[in-house]
């Protein structure tokens, strides 16, 4: 059956969509010419440009500031809602049981919670697609491109397929503990997304101890993963779970220590406060603290079980790790949860190290949540890039890397940063001078310490024959096309 779609696409449900098109047998998507498409496109573009100019004029004129229709910060809308509520909604006797402010609070909680949930659902659907497309791009394939325009409906098709599948429970599995983990894995994900500050007033839960909350909530998944592996009654699953738990427990330490350096500078654990500090000093922590950024990012990939640290589910070694025995939508929940954690990590890297919703003053014009969204996309792209290019660590290498390399280095950097913060509080010059100085010092320290410590631990890149070389001429679709052409010519 073939269903025509807009933009000249065809939904072809008769064939299985192959991941990659083998060379030589190139199948093309049938394009149906639509008359006047260019005209429609031009009109739409003109309208969009006109609207943008109009919005720009209104925003720069300051007519919006703080009004309920000021969509640069959705918190303003909630403020508008709260301001119309009466003083007391429900009174019993003389006491006011339910105050208006409480109802406003409850309403914003429900709306915000729904927003967070639907946002997570949306990004999960979109990310499955974009990650597969990007990976395919890196691996000189085409990726999903059959279901819907550009293969965009592929995640939905996958989800429907997974829901239809039969649930298989291994014999001897502990039923209660087998059903529990896919659910537990998802709860911390929602809790994490609730703490992300999207705009000055647009934070679902602006927690006083936000940074600690982040560490605590991510540590909840460890138990779920372990239970999943244990209850499956499968050796591969148990091995995967053991590996994951060892890895996650080890990498929680460098994460906490690297976050400590940020807290030393800001003097607050609150995420909005950290963003505000960066905006105020016009200094992203990525520049100021390169070593903690590396530590946090790398350790997060370990917590997420992503390459280069995906030994928990190393396909070539232990089938699929802790979720070997899970099938259908339960496995789908694990996969989706992994993607969700990857994006949440990108969000926290953007918030903590890349200035969050601020962009050097540009956030008054562009909606802050758009800025944060762009930053999240960039960090997420780096994650996918790492997944596509880096080989997998061995388990002992990974543990040694955490305990022997990352932890001593990050403790040293905490010492250095503590010294700098003491200096920063006492030095009576414009903040930019010490900050630039600290950035240089930290960068130099990171370079020297990382190299020296690696040599101390016995890493000698010059002695290894096949050490990786960065090449610009290898890889990519273009190279593949060149190869194919050369083959054709021959």
């Amino acid at each position: 059956m073939r269903i025509p779609l807009p933009f000249g696409m065809l939904l072809d449900t008769t064939k299985d969509a192959p991941e990659s098109v083998p060379s030589g047998t190139r199948q093309r998507i049938v394009r149906v010419p639509v008359p006047g498409l260019r005209l429609v496109g031009a009109v739409v573009a003109l309208v969009v440009i006109a609207l943008s100019v109009l919005i720009g004029v209104i925003v720069v004129g300051g007519a919006l500031d703080g009004k309920w229709y000021d969509f640069r910060d959705l918190g303003n809308t909630m403020d508008g809602l709260r301001s119309v509520l009466p003083e007391c909604v429900l009174a019993l006797g003389e006491t006011c049981v339910v105050t208006g402010s409480y109802v406003g609070y409850l309403a914003s909680a429900v709306i915000g919670g729904t927003g967070v949930l639907s946002f997570v659902g949306l990004i999960l659907v979109l990310l499955v697609w974009s990650e597969r497309r990007l990976l395919a791009r890196f691996q000189v394939r085409r990726g999903p491109n059959r279901v819907g325009p550009f293969g965009l409906l592929q995640p939905l098709a996958d989800a429907i397929k997974m829901m239809q599948k039969e649930t298989v429970i291994p014999r001897g599995a502990d039923r209660f503990l087998y059903y529990l983990p896919p659910v537990i894995v998802f709860i911390p994900l929602m809790l994490l997304w609730g703490a992300v500050p999207w705009a000055p007033k647009m934070t679902y839960a602006d927690i006083n101890v936000g940074v600690l909350y982040l560490v605590a909530v991510t540590s909840l998944t460890t138990l779920a993963i372990f239970l999943a592996g244990w209850s499956s009654n499968n050796h591969y699953a148990l091995l995967g779970a053991m590996r994951t738990v060892a890895m996650m427990v080890s990498y929680e330490i460098p994460i906490s220590i690297s976050l400590l350096t940020i807290v030393l500078f800001t003097g607050s654990l609150q995420l909005t406060e950290i963003v505000r500090w960066q905006a105020e000093h016009n200094a992203w922590f990525a520049f100021l603290l390169p070593l903690p950024l590396f530590t946090f990012f790398f350790s997060s990939t370990a917590e997420l079980n992503r390459s280069p640290n995906d030994i928990a589910e190393a396909e070539s070694e232990i089938v699929a790790g802790y979720y070997t025995e899970y099938s259908g939508m339960k496995m789908g929940l694990y996969l989706a949860g992994e993607l969700g954690y990857a994006t949440a990590t990108s969000a926290f890297v953007s918030t903590l190290f890349l200035g969050g919703w601020t962009l050097f003053g540009l956030e008054t014009w562009i909606p802050p949540y758009v800025i944060l969204g762009l930053k999240i996309s960039v960090v997420y792209f780096v994650l996918v890039w790492m997944r596509a290019t880096l080989p997998r660590f061995r388990l002992d290498q990974l543990m040694a890397f955490a305990w022997k390399y990352l932890i001593p280095l990050s403790i040293a950097s905490v010492m250095l940063v503590a010294l700098e913060v003491t200096l920063f509080a006492r030095w009576d010059v414009a903040a930019i001078v010490p900050l630039v100085l600290f950035a240089i010092v930290n960068y130099v320290f990171a370079r020297i310490a990382m190299r020296r410590w690696a040599t101390v631990l016995g890493y000698q890149p010059e002695l290894q024959a096949n050490h990786p070389v960065m090449t610009s001429g290898v890889g990519g679709l273009r190279a593949a096309q060149a190869l194919r052409q050369a083959e054709g010519a021959r």
Binding site: L92, G93, E94, T95, V97
Partner: protein, 116 residues
């Protein structure tokens, strides 16, 4: 009875929190006394420590600050209890594993070498 009279019973105050703390502590005692497995006994002890934390926090919240003490002395106590609980869990579980290696059991009823 009007709502005004009922309010002290419904709205949680210090007695509510203390009663809850007492209940959890009692359940901890029950588990610690009646379980055979050393690890289960340890779970009971952890519950008891947790109940104590709750009592400390409730007192900090509802009893005004005494003269000359830090603002959150109760919270500081809880921090120390958490620390000690973590250390205790690590050592106790290591001991359980060690006992298991020697005797192939962690059943407290069978660990009776020093009896009589």
């Amino acid at each position: 009875m009007t709502f005004e009279e009922l309010k002290p019973f419904i709205v949680p105050g210090l007695p509510h929190y203390l009663a809850l703390s007492g209940q959890v502590f009692a359940i901890g005692i029950l588990i610690a006394l009646s379980k055979r497995n050393a690890i289960a006994v340890l779970m009971g002890v952890e519950l008891m420590l947790n109940a104590t934390n709750l009592a400390f926090l409730a007192f900090t919240r509802f009893v005004p600050q005494a003269q000359g003490t830090p603002a959150l002395a109760g919270h500081v106590f809880v921090v120390f209890i958490l620390t000690v609980a973590a250390a205790e869990a690590a050592v106790a579980l290591a001991m359980a594993v060690l006992v298991y290696r020697r005797r192939e059991t962690v059943d407290l009823d069978r660990l009776n070498l020093l009896r009589w």
